[in-house]
């Protein structure tokens, strides 16, 4: 009999701490599959950010450096400049990457650093209890936008994949979602491609993954999953925004 499905070797055989219905777990698996696909587990260095994904090193069986909140692209830059032959990725939430770390991500992309960035957009600050994020949708209620995000005073949700695609240094920028089997397959392909860009030394690659946070959205797992399709995808279209052929 042929085994067709197994735990990726880059993923440890442990239970995650993520809430039921949280997509972080699925995204972790896709990242591990990409590492396995290119057989780079032993030469990959992950950079963990601050947020619900901070325990990355507990799940990925790879070397990991933990970065201060938002600074993962700068830490990863230092790592990659020393280890040019290694695969270096960051894994960051929307609060991490699109708020406190906007400067670091824009400039790492603009320098064309040979990094792969996995950007998990769940429209809220998960770990700190569901505050408004730069990606929170107009009208969305959070604990710090209790009347709903008012674009007049809070500004508009930032579309990072589009923003970074505008930079010369970005080689690959895409937005995917993991809210359906079809989208999970698509997301897996995009994450593999993003790692492939780095394996082939083709520059900075960026994957924005729309993700559910049932706990802070105050929904059960199924409702949260539905919300991704019903509310997030219309605002954050799933598309490839840049695919450099250099």
């Amino acid at each position: 009999m042929k085994k067709v499905f197994d735990r990726p070797v880059s993923l440890k055989d442990v239970q995650t701490h993520f809430c039921p219905g949280c997509h972080h777990g699925t995204i972790h698996r896709l990242v591990a599959e990409a590492m396995d696909h290119f057989d780079v587990q032993n030469r990959t260095i992950g950079v963990a950010s601050v947020g619900c994904s901070v325990f990355l090193y507990g799940y990925f069986d790879i070397d990991v450096v933990e970065a201060p909140h938002g600074r993962a692209p700068a830490v990863a830059t230092g790592v990659k400049r020393v280890h040019k032959d290694k695969i270096v990725f960051t894994y960051q939430g929307d609060g991490d990457l699109a708020a406190i770390g906007t400067s670091e991500i824009i400039h790492a992309a603009n320098r064309g650093e040979g990094l792969t960035v996995i950007f998990v957009n769940n429209t809220t600050y998960g770990m700190t209890g569901g505050q408004m994020a730069p990606t929170t949708l107009p009208g969305q209620k959070t604990v710090t936008s209790p009347y709903g995000r008012d674009v007049g005073s809070d500004g508009y949700p930032i579309r990072m994949a589009e923003l970074l695609a505008n930079l010369e240094g970005t080689a690959y920028s895409v937005r995917v979602s993991v809210n359906s089997p079809k989208n999970i397959l698509e997301a897996g392909r995009a994450i593999k491609k993003a790692f492939g860009y780095q394996v082939e030394n083709r520059g900075f690659s960026f994957v924005e993954v729309l993700s559910a946070c049932p706990t802070n959205w105050g929904m059960d797992a199924l409702k949260a999953n539905e919300r991704v399709g019903a509310e997030m995808i219309p605002y954050f279209p799933l598309a490839v925004f840049k695919e450099s052929d250099r």
Binding site: Y57, I62, D63, A74, V79, K86, H107
Partner: protein, 355 residues
């Protein structure tokens, strides 16, 4: 390598770092230290190293964190406002037990302040300028030669103890030119960096560089581990210069550029027959506590001179013999606020034998 060179302090730091094997520099321009990134941008590519002009001080200290986590000898440099921005990263490096060289060519503050020589960042440097209760190694050069020598020493100490090291200079030391005799770096006998990330490779075991400790009692244990290392520094790595101290009735203490001015004043005082000496801390952390205790077992009067309104004087007071008197003379810096040797001589006369 024995020829005498005539170089700026800032260049000497960069030269010493390169000689010590530093191959990664990350920084952001700020006066009065920009000669350092300028030198590095010119020389590092020739050595196969990497220079990055980062988008901010925040980014550059985190690039240093990343490079250091890989076990590389790496550095950043800045001046006071930029060092404030780096404090987040310095705290994370301290918590992650990462070495690395941070050069602070201080200018006056607070805020934008001015670009004049200042020692008002003493507290920030030696008391753990970022959050969490930690120390870094702080070295205070008083000459171009020491800028060179201490940058090598900073790397060695930092690697040995896995504690970030700061070279605390100021715009006088950074900008002045004087003779430098370069010499070869003698590699120290340092422990292997088996904690560095490199990809799992064939080790079969993952390596994690982190400062997050959430398990019961884990963080306390981690902190005690760090603090025991600070004690080791105090035992083994204290450095200071003692100048004309043997028969001194009044001990002057100052570091960096203030010590140079003080030295001139002491020579003038000696010419007048006053028995005055200088105890100059070279390591500000670890502070030469024992040297002060010992020196004040005979000379009971200490005059602390600083280019600020009084910071190191607190550590001096904590270190001297119980019955010693500690006086302070300092001027918060700014254009035209550098004390002259004559000014310090007047202070020496004032505190000598209580006059």
């Amino acid at each position: 390598m024995s020829n005498r060179l005539f170089v700026k302090g800032n260049e000497a730091v960069a030269m010493g770092a390169l000689e010590a094997g530093c191959r990664y520099y990350f920084g952001y321009p700020i006066t009065p230290q920009s000669d350092i990134p300028e030198y590095m941008s010119r020389e590092l590519p020739k050595l196969g190293g990497e220079f990055i002009q980062a988008e901010s001080e925040v980014a550059s200290i985190n690039m240093l964190l990343g490079a250091s986590a890989c076990g590389a000898r790496a550095m950043t440099s800045s001046s006071s406002p930029g060092i404030s921005l780096k404090q987040e990263g310095i705290s994370y490096m301290a918590g992650s037990e990462l070495p690395g060289l941070i050069v602070n060519i201080c200018r006056s503050g607070p805020g934008l302040g001015g670009i004049d020589a200042s020692q008002a960042d003493y507290f920030q440097a030696v008391k753990g300028g970022g959050h969490g209760g930690y120390h870094i190694i702080v070295l205070a050069p008083d000459s171009v030669q020491e800028m060179y020598d201490l940058s090598m020493l900073a790397f060695d100490l930092s690697d040995r103890y896995r504690i970030p090291a700061m070279l605390l200079g100021d715009s006088v030391i950074g900008q002045m030119k004087e003779a430098l005799i370069p010499h070869r770096y003698q590699p120290a006998d340092l422990p292997a960096k088996d904690w560095a990330v490199a990809g799992k490779g064939n080790r079969g075991k993952q390596t994690i560089v982190k400062s997050l400790y959430l398990g019961d009692g884990e963080l306390e244990a981690h902190n005690w581990r760090l603090h025991k290392r600070y004690d080791l520094l105090k035992q083994h790595e204290v450095r200071y210069e003692s100048f004309e101290c043997e028969d001194a009735q009044l001990l002057v203490t100052a570091f960096g550029s203030a010590a140079r001015i003080a030295k001139t004043a002491i020579r003038m005082a000696r010419a007048e027959g006053l028995k005055v000496g200088l105890l100059r801390p070279i390591t500000l952390f670890p502070f030469p506590e024992k040297a002060f205790l010992q020196a004040t077992s005979t000379s009971k009067r200490v005059l602390c001179v600083e280019l600020n309104a009084g910071q190191m004087v607190e550590d001096v007071r904590l270190s001297v013999a119980r019955d010693a008197d500690v006086f302070f003379y300092g001027r918060p810096p700014g254009a035209g606020s550098l004390p002259t040797p004559e000014e310090l001589l007047a202070q020496i006369r004032k505190y000598y034998e209580g006059k």
